[in-house]
Symmetry: C2
Subunit: 232 residues, 2 copies
């Protein structure tokens, strides 16, 4: 039966899931767009429910509950999943508060390394609408993990904008967690002090202070994945 | 004299500059935030005017005209500038419609290569509030250029998500323009056909179809800058 009223319970649920406290309370999140719903299905995620415009719901009503305002043709609702840290190469984030950056890093890690993105304190919710969208489905294929810096397995390589060893000079044969911090602030002092190495991506001396955190994490994963493959 | 009325002409101008047709009509754009106003000053840009909260204008009134809604303490208004294509390594974008991606690529290019970002058709306005913010000031330090694919100098390397040579296999000693296309669609067929080489960033076979365009452009610039330096 096609939903024709904005008072419908499923539509109300989707609207609530824009807010983090509702996502936590209900233990659910929404993924917007046919491509994301398809990515969830490919990854074997059972939806709580899926609403498709024109089939399950009037298109206008679905648009109204969209958090991304892009006229989604489908919205799926799922329970979040969490991985454990692991793999040969993973990435740990500290205080990356922008959901677009978190989602983009989920996608890059899925493309470039075998381990998950591990969220430290103060990171954006990877199951927020913007993060799920930016992940382009990678959040389903490889769910994020959560851990404190002290709990990370393997060698901990702290990325710094302008300090430490050139990332190309690292010689790595073991399990590695690349650690990246917030825009401007970078990693906390404690993480820099406890890391097994501090590394930087070589930047032009006349350029900006740093790369965007998603760019830095992606370039580091690209470089380290290559270096580790060479030693495999 | 501190501005105390929302009817003030400067505040009205800033509000208009959220819209592209007003930016074009007035030949102006706004940069929000003390760090961006400082970046403009460092790069020698003369502002049309700058409003600082508490000094030139009541803080609440400045917040009201902010396009980014982040409680900016300063907003500067400037005339856009455009570079010419050039340098040893530059990047050309086709239909990159997300202003955050365009701004982030401005920042990455400034950090990694000596040439400008060159905007082809259908790209987001690099002087929109989101693009200026994402550039973190690089739009002032190295203004973008505009050109059609056919006008690009040097070797044209077309990035493709999953086709072409491994970007690590390219041997480059000449001037290069890295060409990147829109999310999903990639570069148009004509560009792929006319390019001097098609190259891909090596991605895991079990990963996503592609990287985000800003990630792909950044990794390609990182890799090619290294390869060109090795041949310098």
């Amino acid at each position: 039966m096609t939903i024709r009223s904005a008072d419908n319970q499923k539509l109300k649920t989707i609207r609530k899931l824009r807010q983090k406290h509702w996502r936590e309370k209900l233990g659910l999140f929404a993924a917007e767009g046919e491509d994301l719903v398809a990515a969830a299905e490919r990854a074997g995620w059972e939806p709580e429910f899926v609403l498709r415009a024109g089939r399950d719901v009037e298109p206008g009503l679905l648009s109204e509950v969209s958090a991304l305002g892009s006229g989604s043709r489908a919205i799926g609702v799922y329970s979040p999943r969490w991985s454990e840290p692991g793999g040969r190469l993973m990435v740990w984030l500290h205080a990356v508060a922008d959901p677009g950056n978190v989602g983009t890093i989920l996608r890059s890690a899925h493309a470039l390394c075998d381990g998950p993105v591990i969220l430290g304190p103060e990171c954006a919710d990877p199951y927020s609408p913007k993060a799920v969208r930016a992940s382009m489905g990678s959040v389903f294929a490889r769910p994020p993990a959560r851990a404190a810096f002290e709990e990370l397995p393997g060698l901990r390589i702290a990325l710094d904008a302008r300090a430490g060893e050139d990332v190309r000079a690292l010689s790595l044969t073991q399990q590695v967690a690349v650690c990246a911090g917030a825009e401007r602030r970078g990693l906390p002092e404690a993480a820099l002090a406890q890391a097994d190495a501090v590394a930087r991506i070589p930047l032009r001396p006349d350029g900006p202070e740093s790369l965007n955190v998603a760019m830095a994490a992606t370039v580091a994963l690209y470089e380290l994945a290559r270096r580790m493959a060479a030693h495999a």
